[in-house]
Protein backbone atom coordinates (compact mmCIF):
# COMPACT_ATOMS: atom_id res chain seq x y z
CA UNK A 1 0.00 0.00 0.00
CA UNK A 2 1.17 3.54 -0.72
CA UNK A 3 0.17 5.63 2.28
CA UNK A 4 0.22 9.34 1.46
CA UNK A 5 0.42 11.51 4.56
CA UNK A 6 0.13 15.25 4.18
CA UNK A 7 -1.99 17.61 2.18
CA UNK A 8 -2.41 19.85 -0.78
CA UNK A 9 -3.24 23.50 -0.19
CA UNK A 10 -3.04 26.65 -2.32
CA UNK A 11 0.71 26.86 -1.86
CA UNK A 12 1.50 23.37 -3.09
CA UNK A 13 1.41 19.61 -2.57
CA UNK A 14 3.13 18.24 0.53
CA UNK A 15 2.99 14.49 0.90
CA UNK A 16 5.26 11.95 2.51
CA UNK A 17 4.52 8.63 0.82
CA UNK A 18 5.34 5.40 2.57
CA UNK A 19 5.31 2.17 0.60
CA UNK A 20 4.08 -0.21 3.29
CA UNK A 21 5.01 -3.24 1.16
CA UNK A 22 8.65 -2.15 1.26
CA UNK A 23 8.61 -0.91 4.87
CA UNK A 24 9.56 -3.58 7.40
CA UNK A 25 8.88 -1.35 10.40
CA UNK A 26 12.58 -1.26 11.43
CA UNK A 27 12.23 2.31 12.70
CA UNK A 28 15.53 3.64 11.31
CA UNK A 29 13.65 6.62 9.84
CA UNK A 30 12.17 7.44 13.25
CA UNK A 31 15.62 7.89 14.74
CA UNK A 32 16.84 9.80 11.70
CA UNK A 33 14.10 12.44 11.74
CA UNK A 34 15.19 15.36 13.93
CA UNK A 35 11.64 16.60 14.43
CA UNK A 36 9.66 13.51 15.42
CA UNK A 37 7.63 13.50 12.21
CA UNK A 38 7.85 9.73 11.70
CA UNK A 39 6.71 7.01 14.06
CA UNK A 40 6.27 3.26 13.81
CA UNK A 41 3.36 1.22 15.08
CA UNK A 42 0.52 -1.09 14.20
CA UNK A 43 -0.71 -0.27 10.68
CA UNK A 44 -3.96 1.63 11.26
CA UNK A 45 -5.02 1.05 7.66
CA UNK A 46 -4.33 -2.68 7.49
CA UNK A 47 -5.76 -4.59 10.44
CA UNK A 48 -4.24 -7.89 9.26
CA UNK A 49 -0.64 -6.74 9.02
CA UNK A 50 1.48 -8.42 11.70
CA UNK A 51 4.67 -6.32 11.67
CA UNK A 52 4.85 -2.61 12.59
CA UNK A 53 4.95 0.03 9.88
CA UNK A 54 6.26 3.60 9.60
CA UNK A 55 3.84 6.50 9.36
CA UNK A 56 3.69 10.26 9.84
CA UNK A 57 2.57 11.14 13.37
CA UNK A 58 -0.88 12.64 13.81
CA UNK A 59 0.66 15.86 15.21
CA UNK A 60 2.58 16.54 12.03
CA UNK A 61 0.19 15.44 9.26
CA UNK A 62 -1.37 18.87 8.82
CA UNK A 63 1.89 20.81 8.87
CA UNK A 64 4.63 18.72 7.27
CA UNK A 65 5.49 21.61 4.97
CA UNK A 66 6.62 23.40 8.11
CA UNK A 67 7.83 20.41 10.15
CA UNK A 68 10.09 19.25 7.31
CA UNK A 69 11.23 22.76 6.33
CA UNK A 70 14.53 22.67 8.29
CA UNK A 71 15.63 19.59 6.30
CA UNK A 72 14.83 21.38 3.05
CA UNK A 73 16.99 24.51 2.93
CA UNK A 74 16.52 26.54 -0.23
CA UNK A 75 20.12 26.00 -1.36
CA UNK A 76 22.74 23.28 -0.75
CA UNK A 77 20.01 20.75 -0.28
CA UNK A 78 21.42 17.64 1.38
CA UNK A 79 19.68 14.23 1.12
CA UNK A 80 16.68 14.00 3.45
CA UNK A 81 17.66 12.12 6.65
CA UNK A 82 14.51 9.95 6.65
CA UNK A 83 14.88 8.95 3.02
CA UNK A 84 18.61 8.28 3.45
CA UNK A 85 18.02 6.16 6.57
CA UNK A 86 15.51 3.88 4.88
CA UNK A 87 17.36 0.86 3.55
CA UNK A 88 14.37 -0.43 1.64
CA UNK A 89 13.59 2.84 -0.14
CA UNK A 90 10.08 3.04 1.22
CA UNK A 91 9.92 6.80 1.86
CA UNK A 92 9.33 9.54 -0.68
CA UNK A 93 8.61 13.24 -0.37
CA UNK A 94 6.45 14.92 -3.00
CA UNK A 95 8.16 18.31 -2.67
Amino acid sequence: MIANYGYKDGSGEYFISIDTDKCDGCGDCVGACPYGVLITGEDPNDPFREEPVAMVSEDHRKKIKYSCAPCKPVSDRPPLPCVAACGSGAIEHSW
Partner: protein, 254 residues
Protein backbone atom coordinates in the same frame (compact mmCIF):
# COMPACT_ATOMS: atom_id res chain seq x y z
CA UNK B 1 17.68 62.83 -9.49
CA UNK B 2 14.03 62.15 -8.67
CA UNK B 3 12.70 58.59 -8.93
CA UNK B 4 9.63 56.70 -7.75
CA UNK B 5 8.85 53.18 -6.63
CA UNK B 6 5.36 51.73 -6.68
CA UNK B 7 4.42 48.53 -4.86
CA UNK B 8 1.08 47.12 -6.04
CA UNK B 9 0.10 44.66 -3.32
CA UNK B 10 -2.98 42.47 -2.96
CA UNK B 11 -4.71 44.88 -0.59
CA UNK B 12 -2.89 48.22 -0.94
CA UNK B 13 -0.80 50.22 -3.40
CA UNK B 14 2.23 52.07 -2.02
CA UNK B 15 4.31 54.78 -3.69
CA UNK B 16 7.58 56.30 -2.51
CA UNK B 17 9.21 59.24 -4.30
CA UNK B 18 12.88 59.93 -3.57
CA UNK B 19 15.20 62.74 -4.44
CA UNK B 20 18.95 62.09 -4.10
CA UNK B 21 18.43 59.30 -1.61
CA UNK B 22 15.88 61.17 0.51
CA UNK B 23 12.18 60.32 0.69
CA UNK B 24 10.22 63.39 -0.44
CA UNK B 25 6.75 61.87 -0.91
CA UNK B 26 4.84 58.71 -0.08
CA UNK B 27 1.30 57.39 -0.27
CA UNK B 28 -0.75 54.33 0.48
CA UNK B 29 -4.16 53.66 -1.08
CA UNK B 30 -6.46 50.60 -1.02
CA UNK B 31 -6.07 48.46 -4.14
CA UNK B 32 -9.84 47.97 -4.53
CA UNK B 33 -11.03 46.30 -7.70
CA UNK B 34 -9.57 48.88 -10.08
CA UNK B 35 -5.86 48.23 -9.71
CA UNK B 36 -4.85 50.61 -12.53
CA UNK B 37 -6.92 53.44 -11.05
CA UNK B 38 -5.50 52.82 -7.57
CA UNK B 39 -1.96 52.98 -8.98
CA UNK B 40 -2.67 56.32 -10.68
CA UNK B 41 -4.19 57.72 -7.50
CA UNK B 42 -1.32 56.57 -5.30
CA UNK B 43 1.26 58.03 -7.69
CA UNK B 44 -0.49 61.42 -7.86
CA UNK B 45 -0.91 61.57 -4.08
CA UNK B 46 2.77 60.92 -3.44
CA UNK B 47 3.76 63.50 -6.06
CA UNK B 48 1.40 66.09 -4.56
CA UNK B 49 2.96 65.53 -1.16
CA UNK B 50 6.41 66.11 -2.66
CA UNK B 51 5.18 69.17 -4.60
CA UNK B 52 6.22 67.53 -7.86
CA UNK B 53 4.57 66.55 -11.12
CA UNK B 54 5.00 63.41 -13.21
CA UNK B 55 7.43 65.08 -15.63
CA UNK B 56 9.87 65.71 -12.75
CA UNK B 57 10.28 61.98 -12.20
CA UNK B 58 13.21 60.50 -14.11
CA UNK B 59 12.21 56.85 -13.68
CA UNK B 60 9.46 54.74 -12.10
CA UNK B 61 10.04 51.13 -11.03
CA UNK B 62 7.10 48.92 -10.05
CA UNK B 63 6.95 45.84 -7.86
CA UNK B 64 4.35 43.68 -6.10
CA UNK B 65 1.72 41.20 -7.30
CA UNK B 66 0.14 43.84 -9.56
CA UNK B 67 3.39 45.31 -10.84
CA UNK B 68 2.20 45.15 -14.45
CA UNK B 69 -0.75 47.43 -13.66
CA UNK B 70 0.80 50.95 -13.54
CA UNK B 71 0.92 52.23 -17.12
CA UNK B 72 3.47 54.86 -16.07
CA UNK B 73 6.12 52.31 -14.99
CA UNK B 74 9.49 52.22 -16.75
CA UNK B 75 10.65 48.94 -15.29
CA UNK B 76 9.49 46.10 -13.07
CA UNK B 77 11.36 44.25 -10.33
CA UNK B 78 10.27 41.32 -8.17
CA UNK B 79 9.20 41.84 -4.57
CA UNK B 80 12.30 39.96 -3.41
CA UNK B 81 14.63 42.41 -5.15
CA UNK B 82 12.71 45.48 -4.00
CA UNK B 83 12.32 44.26 -0.39
CA UNK B 84 16.00 43.44 -0.04
CA UNK B 85 17.09 46.78 -1.50
CA UNK B 86 14.76 48.79 0.74
CA UNK B 87 15.54 46.85 3.92
CA UNK B 88 19.32 47.00 3.43
CA UNK B 89 19.10 50.76 2.76
CA UNK B 90 17.36 51.23 6.15
CA UNK B 91 19.39 48.62 8.04
CA UNK B 92 22.82 48.16 6.42
CA UNK B 93 23.58 45.24 8.78
CA UNK B 94 20.49 43.30 7.68
CA UNK B 95 21.15 39.68 6.66
CA UNK B 96 17.62 38.34 6.85
CA UNK B 97 14.55 40.18 5.59
CA UNK B 98 11.08 38.91 6.46
CA UNK B 99 8.16 40.42 4.57
CA UNK B 100 4.64 39.51 5.69
CA UNK B 101 1.94 41.07 3.56
CA UNK B 102 -1.78 40.49 3.21
CA UNK B 103 -1.51 37.49 0.91
CA UNK B 104 2.15 36.47 0.95
CA UNK B 105 4.97 35.80 3.34
CA UNK B 106 8.59 35.98 2.22
CA UNK B 107 11.98 35.35 3.77
CA UNK B 108 15.10 36.67 2.07
CA UNK B 109 18.75 36.19 2.96
CA UNK B 110 21.15 38.89 1.80
CA UNK B 111 24.94 39.01 1.92
CA UNK B 112 27.13 41.78 3.34
CA UNK B 113 26.84 43.66 0.05
CA UNK B 114 23.04 43.57 0.21
CA UNK B 115 22.82 41.03 -2.60
CA UNK B 116 20.02 38.42 -2.45
CA UNK B 117 21.48 34.99 -1.67
CA UNK B 118 18.35 32.91 -1.00
CA UNK B 119 14.66 33.38 -0.60
CA UNK B 120 11.55 31.40 0.26
CA UNK B 121 7.97 32.41 -0.38
CA UNK B 122 4.66 31.34 1.07
CA UNK B 123 1.85 32.30 -1.22
CA UNK B 124 -1.63 31.21 -2.23
CA UNK B 125 -2.50 29.90 1.22
CA UNK B 126 -4.00 32.35 3.72
CA UNK B 127 -2.62 30.42 6.70
CA UNK B 128 0.87 31.81 6.09
CA UNK B 129 0.00 35.46 5.46
CA UNK B 130 -1.69 38.52 6.91
CA UNK B 131 -5.06 37.30 5.66
CA UNK B 132 -4.95 34.68 8.44
CA UNK B 133 -4.65 37.33 11.17
CA UNK B 134 -7.39 39.43 9.55
CA UNK B 135 -9.79 36.50 9.37
CA UNK B 136 -9.11 35.63 13.02
CA UNK B 137 -9.63 39.25 14.13
CA UNK B 138 -13.00 39.22 12.35
CA UNK B 139 -13.95 35.98 14.08
CA UNK B 140 -12.95 37.42 17.46
CA UNK B 141 -14.75 40.67 16.62
CA UNK B 142 -11.82 42.88 17.52
CA UNK B 143 -9.93 45.20 15.22
CA UNK B 144 -6.42 44.25 14.16
CA UNK B 145 -4.62 46.81 16.27
CA UNK B 146 -6.53 45.85 19.39
CA UNK B 147 -5.83 42.17 18.79
CA UNK B 148 -2.10 42.92 18.60
CA UNK B 149 -2.18 44.70 21.95
CA UNK B 150 -4.36 42.03 23.57
CA UNK B 151 -1.78 39.43 22.64
CA UNK B 152 0.82 41.09 24.86
CA UNK B 153 -1.42 40.57 27.92
CA UNK B 154 -1.68 36.82 27.39
CA UNK B 155 -1.11 34.70 30.49
CA UNK B 156 -0.58 31.38 28.77
CA UNK B 157 0.20 29.83 25.39
CA UNK B 158 -2.86 28.04 24.01
CA UNK B 159 -2.06 25.80 21.05
CA UNK B 160 -4.06 26.14 17.83
CA UNK B 161 -4.16 22.92 15.85
CA UNK B 162 -5.92 24.00 12.66
CA UNK B 163 -3.51 24.81 9.86
CA UNK B 164 -6.14 26.41 7.61
CA UNK B 165 -7.66 29.86 8.14
CA UNK B 166 -11.18 28.47 7.59
CA UNK B 167 -10.80 25.60 10.06
CA UNK B 168 -8.97 27.90 12.52
CA UNK B 169 -12.11 30.05 12.68
CA UNK B 170 -14.11 27.04 13.90
CA UNK B 171 -11.36 26.23 16.39
CA UNK B 172 -11.51 29.80 17.66
CA UNK B 173 -15.25 29.41 18.18
CA UNK B 174 -14.59 26.34 20.37
CA UNK B 175 -11.98 28.32 22.32
CA UNK B 176 -14.58 31.06 22.87
CA UNK B 177 -17.07 28.45 24.09
CA UNK B 178 -14.43 27.06 26.43
CA UNK B 179 -14.23 30.58 27.92
CA UNK B 180 -10.58 31.05 26.91
CA UNK B 181 -9.52 34.62 27.80
CA UNK B 182 -9.33 36.89 24.74
CA UNK B 183 -5.65 37.80 25.26
CA UNK B 184 -4.73 34.10 25.27
CA UNK B 185 -6.64 33.56 22.03
CA UNK B 186 -4.94 36.58 20.44
CA UNK B 187 -1.58 35.15 21.45
CA UNK B 188 -2.53 31.73 20.07
CA UNK B 189 -3.34 33.34 16.71
CA UNK B 190 -0.06 35.25 16.53
CA UNK B 191 1.96 32.27 17.72
CA UNK B 192 0.36 30.13 15.01
CA UNK B 193 1.24 32.44 12.15
CA UNK B 194 4.69 33.25 13.60
CA UNK B 195 5.42 29.53 13.77
CA UNK B 196 4.71 29.13 10.05
CA UNK B 197 6.71 32.22 9.09
CA UNK B 198 9.68 31.10 11.21
CA UNK B 199 9.89 27.69 9.59
CA UNK B 200 10.06 29.46 6.23
CA UNK B 201 12.78 31.78 7.58
CA UNK B 202 14.79 28.77 8.75
CA UNK B 203 14.88 27.49 5.19
CA UNK B 204 17.01 30.49 4.23
CA UNK B 205 18.90 30.62 7.55
CA UNK B 206 17.92 33.20 10.17
CA UNK B 207 21.13 35.20 10.44
CA UNK B 208 21.02 38.48 12.36
CA UNK B 209 20.19 41.26 11.86
CA UNK B 210 16.65 40.23 11.12
CA UNK B 211 14.43 42.93 9.63
CA UNK B 212 10.67 42.59 9.50
CA UNK B 213 8.73 44.51 6.86
CA UNK B 214 5.26 44.41 5.31
CA UNK B 215 1.89 45.46 6.72
CA UNK B 216 1.77 42.70 9.36
CA UNK B 217 4.93 44.17 10.95
CA UNK B 218 2.67 46.87 12.44
CA UNK B 219 0.96 44.19 14.55
CA UNK B 220 2.74 44.26 17.92
CA UNK B 221 1.32 40.86 18.87
CA UNK B 222 2.81 39.23 15.79
CA UNK B 223 6.19 40.93 16.32
CA UNK B 224 6.22 39.65 19.91
CA UNK B 225 5.43 36.06 18.86
CA UNK B 226 7.92 36.17 16.00
CA UNK B 227 10.80 37.47 18.17
CA UNK B 228 10.13 34.81 20.78
CA UNK B 229 10.00 32.05 18.21
CA UNK B 230 13.14 33.24 16.38
CA UNK B 231 14.95 33.84 19.69
CA UNK B 232 16.43 37.00 18.30
CA UNK B 233 15.66 40.68 18.23
CA UNK B 234 13.71 41.77 15.17
CA UNK B 235 14.40 45.20 13.65
CA UNK B 236 11.41 47.22 12.54
CA UNK B 237 11.40 50.19 10.18
CA UNK B 238 9.04 53.12 10.87
CA UNK B 239 6.92 52.43 7.80
CA UNK B 240 7.19 48.66 7.35
CA UNK B 241 4.65 48.49 4.53
CA UNK B 242 6.52 51.08 2.45
CA UNK B 243 9.86 49.27 2.25
CA UNK B 244 9.12 47.48 -1.04
CA UNK B 245 8.17 50.75 -2.73
CA UNK B 246 11.26 52.42 -1.25
CA UNK B 247 13.43 49.63 -2.63
CA UNK B 248 11.87 50.06 -6.06
CA UNK B 249 12.52 53.82 -5.96
CA UNK B 250 16.16 53.20 -4.97
CA UNK B 251 16.59 50.70 -7.82
CA UNK B 252 15.12 53.31 -10.20
CA UNK B 253 17.85 55.74 -9.10
CA UNK B 254 20.68 53.32 -9.87
Amino acid sequence: MITAGIDCGAKTVKVVVIKDGQVVGKSLVPAGIDAKGAAEKAFDEALAQAGLSRKDVAKVVSTGTGRKEPTFRDEEVTEVTADARGAVFLFPQARTVIDVGAEEGRAIRVDAAGKVVDFAVNEKCAAGAGAFVEAMARALEVDLEEMGKLSLQAKQAVPMNAQCAVFAESELVSLVHAKTPKPDMARAIHDAIADRIVSMVRRVGAEPEVVLIGGVAKNVGFVDSLSRDLETEVKLPDDPEMVGALGAALIAAE
